[in-house]
Amino acid sequence: MAENFEQHSDISAADLARLSQEAQAEATPSTAKIIWSEFKADRPAMAALFIIVGFIVFVMVGALFINTPKMMETNIMAYFNQPFTPEFWLGADSGGRSVAKQLIVGSRNSIGIAIGLTIISSTFGICWGLISGYFNGYIDWGMQRVYDFMMMLPMTMMIIVLVTIIPHYNSVTLTFIFSIFYWEGTSRLIRSRTLAEAEKDYVAASRTSGTSHWKIIFREIMPNISSLIIVDCTLSFAENIGVETGLSYLGFGLPSQTPSLGTMISNANDPNNITQYWWTWLPAALEIIILCLAISYVGQVLRRAADASQRQGAAD
């Protein structure tokens, strides 16, 4: 059969190297390159990226050098120590515990939970949505009933109940508990796009080309909704920082001996702290605001890069 093609085309094996080199020169830049040039073209986003990455690395590494149980010991001498002193850069709280150190360990805990939660719930939600949308029919119907059931459960209450029932929990168990309830939104979003995408002819073409269903789902359809996935993941990440924070603030998140951004912000429950001892809660609040803003900036750039048509930076 190969002869058949030889006969009707002038191209032979001898031209292969030259032609593929020529083609290489004309090639469109890879996705990673496009993303990078997109960041270079957008300075605020570049700054945001550095803030996020730098901060996450800083707290992850910094927390390793802090002895948490010792840090959390009450120190009467330092009761509401003023900030900007050599020993307490950001002052101390009512227990005389260093706010700066708590902020580092607390950020590590909160961000760690948010990252874990985003990875688990998004992966699950994306797979669920892709499979449900692609197979349409009975599989979709069954999966959607499970989704409906999960949506019926009052989420916050279920989490609070689970947290109270489980005797010993830490950030890992908490991440898993949250994950049970946070994949639904993603799955719905992904499913609706997959439904539309699966109708397109390139999916039919892949099927007549002999490609398997799983390969079509994850190698053909998924790249085409990557911009949606990226935006959804960044937004969920920003949102997930809030999830843990909110529950800890209400007193149902991490135990109070484990510092987190939520437990720190709950210092603001005390009217005295709000006005007089602002350093106990303000840094954590500012940190959340800055982080969430930076994340959404980065998300925008990633989306632009993923939508090849929308790119600014790449010279095309």
């Binding site: 292969l16 032609l19 593929s20 090639a27 469109t28 002819d201 390139y202 073409a205 007549t208 048509s309």
Partner: protein, 324 residues
């Protein structure tokens, strides 16, 4: 033996409603059609929008779940997925899609798009595969630098060529061409059709050429089937259909071909109005009480029409007299 034999093919889409998703009704997209495609020929399937042409085409490549009936290839019923797998069916039967943009994955490079069927069916070495892709690009008249580009970087006509290259990659025996040029403008249409013909000659491919436009089909097809509301209303050779149409639906489709000769515009318009008048007045004669087409009756060896026997004979003799 014909290359493909389609027997009483039916595709009904269930309409589901309610919480339990029960089937309450169905859309009869294809409702009992029978025809054969011979090796090396171009078979035309013509009908207006919604008549079930694409559904038929998709059933033949195995994309559609068939309600009943059979499609025989090498003596096996390929409406069963298991038989398709056994035969490596899609290696021999491929499809060109109507919308070239949506039929090419926007996130994949041309090399990967054209190589997809090769990777699944032929398992060539990396160099052989690349060589084959380059040859295919050459055959459809594209430069080698298309290799690492993405579909959006090409024009509609170029994209349709890429679609053709992918379809011929495994050197198939039959290609379903679902309105391959209806999204292209006229000059490009002719180009694409011409090299589809060229490829047919060189590789001995059969086409099932789907179109709503009898004007285009005339240049491509030896045998033509006219489809109306999921059924075939007339089958015949090019001569049968264009020169001796019997069914009113065929006549209407013919009348709808735009007349390019300015001097005959008036006459063309008059004949179109006459056909339309007959259609309005005599619809009950041509369709049964439910408004559906009759079963086909054979008029000559090649020609069949969906009419009651008596009417068919009467029209055939009339048509014969006009010709005489």
């Amino acid at each position: 033996m014909s290359l493909i034999e389609i027997k009483d093919l039916k595709v009904h889409y269930p309409i589901r409603t309610g919480f339990w998703n029960r089937i309450t009704d169905s859309v009869r997209a294809v409702d009992g059609i029978t025809f054969n495609i011979e090796a090396g020929e171009t078979y035309g399937l013509v009908g207006e929008s919604g008549s079930g042409k694409s559904t038929t085409g998709k059933s033949v490549v195995g994309l559609e779940k068939v309600t009943s009936g059979s499609i025989l290839y090498k003596g096996q019923d390929i409406t069963k997925a298991e038989n398709r797998r056994k035969l490596d069916y899609n290696r021999d039967v491929q499809m060109i899609f109507q919308d070239s943009l949506s039929s090419l994955n926007p996130r994949k490079r041309i090399e990967d798009i054209i190589a997809e069927p090769l990777r699944n069916f032929e398992h060539l070495s990396k160099d052989d595969e690349k060589l084959r892709v380059l040859q295919l690009l050459d055959i459809v008249g594209l430069d080698a630098d298309a290799l690492y580009k993405y579909p959006h970087q090409f024009s509609g006509g170029q994209r349709q060529r890429i679609g053709v290259a992918r379809a011929v990659a495994t050197n198939p025996k039959l290609i379903i061409a679902d309105e391959p040029v209806s999204a292209l403008d006229l000059s490009v249409q002719a180009q694409v059709l011409n090299f589809m013909k060229k490829i047919q000659r060189e590789f001995g491919i059969s086409y099932l050429f789907i179109s709503h436009d009898l004007g285009v089909v005339r240049h491509m097809c030896n045998n033509i089937a006219i489809m109306n509301r999921g059924r075939l209303v007339e089958i015949g050779t090019r001569d049968d259909i264009y020169n001796h149409p019997l069914h009113i639906y065929t006549k209407r489709l013919l009348a709808a071909i735009p007349e390019t000769n300015v001097n005959q515009r008036e006459a063309h318009r008059a004949s179109r109005l006459a056909v339309e008048k007959v259609y309005q007045e005599q619809q009950s004669k041509y369709y049964d009480d439910d408004g559906e087409a009759y079963p086909l009756v054979q008029i000559s060896k090649t020609h069949a029409v969906a009419l009651p026997q008596a009417l068919a004979q009467q029209l055939a003799t009339q048509e014969g007299e006009v010709q005489a």
